[in-house]
Symmetry: C2
Subunit: 145 residues, 2 copies
């Protein structure tokens, strides 16, 4: 699955903590968008989509949240509850977000500006597109011989 947890270097001293994110240092793409989710209500699910092209780095800079991630081969859960842990999400990964703590602030860096056309919001369509990539018709025909 095109996801990866990364440990971010904390520059801590007697004053407190600082974490810096820079392309070509610890972010594997140019930063063209930053967004953050906060004041998420209890029992809310967010996400429920995949991106055809977008790459993202998600960090729960405060509180905790659970991701359900699926690349077409079944789901896996990842909990983000540490501001020094990043979650790299590649393209074509279905994600649902839930179990937001009351204080959760989820920050996401993305490699492209907002593009509604990049979203797949229908899970069946996602499965169809991702399976077409994973198991191209030509390859299946070839293996069937």
């Amino acid at each position: 699955m095109d996801i990866k947890r990364i440990q971010l270097q904390s520059h801590g001293d007697q004053r407190g903590m600082l974490i810096a994110l820079e392309p070509e240092r610890n972010v594997p793409f140019p930063i063209r968008r930053v967004y953050y989710l906060f004041a998420t209500r209890q029992k809310v699910h967010r996400g429920r989509h995949a991106h055809r092209h977008l790459n993202q780095l998600a960090i729960s800079v405060r509180g905790s949240v659970t991701f359900l991630l699926d690349d077409g081969n079944g789901p896996t859960e990842v909990v983000l509850d540490d501001p020094s842990q990043g979650l790299l999400l590649g393209r074509m990964v279905w994600r649902e977000l839930y179990d937001f703590s009351d204080d959760c602030v989820l920050m996401v860096l993305a490699d492209q500006p907002y593009d509604p056309g990049d979203y797949i919001t229908d899970y069946d369509l996602f499965l169809k597109e991702v399976h077409a990539e994973l198991y191209p018709a030509g390859l299946v025909a070839c293996l069937d011989r």
Copy 2:
């Protein structure tokens, strides 16, 4: 003073809040660095420097913090305590940060990667450099005539 408070558009609905930051939309520079401060200890002062070239956008995405800002013509205080309020800080502004709430997470977007040579950490040197810009010797000589 080269500072500006900006109101960021919140995309709120029954699920919670989302704020997005994009160059050429609501960030007036390319994003080449993102950093965040958290777990700052009580009574700590941070900052105490100016940048010769760096432009930044600071947002307290959780909790509150006070900025003392000085462009060489005396200090002013700005409190950030709202995740939808951004503080644009231009070059040659001395800043000190204090009164961090226990839960404060201060996120900063910057238009350049980290460059130690861009920092002025001595207030007297800052005053000297900024006054040299504000009151060039030629202009003073001219006004003295």
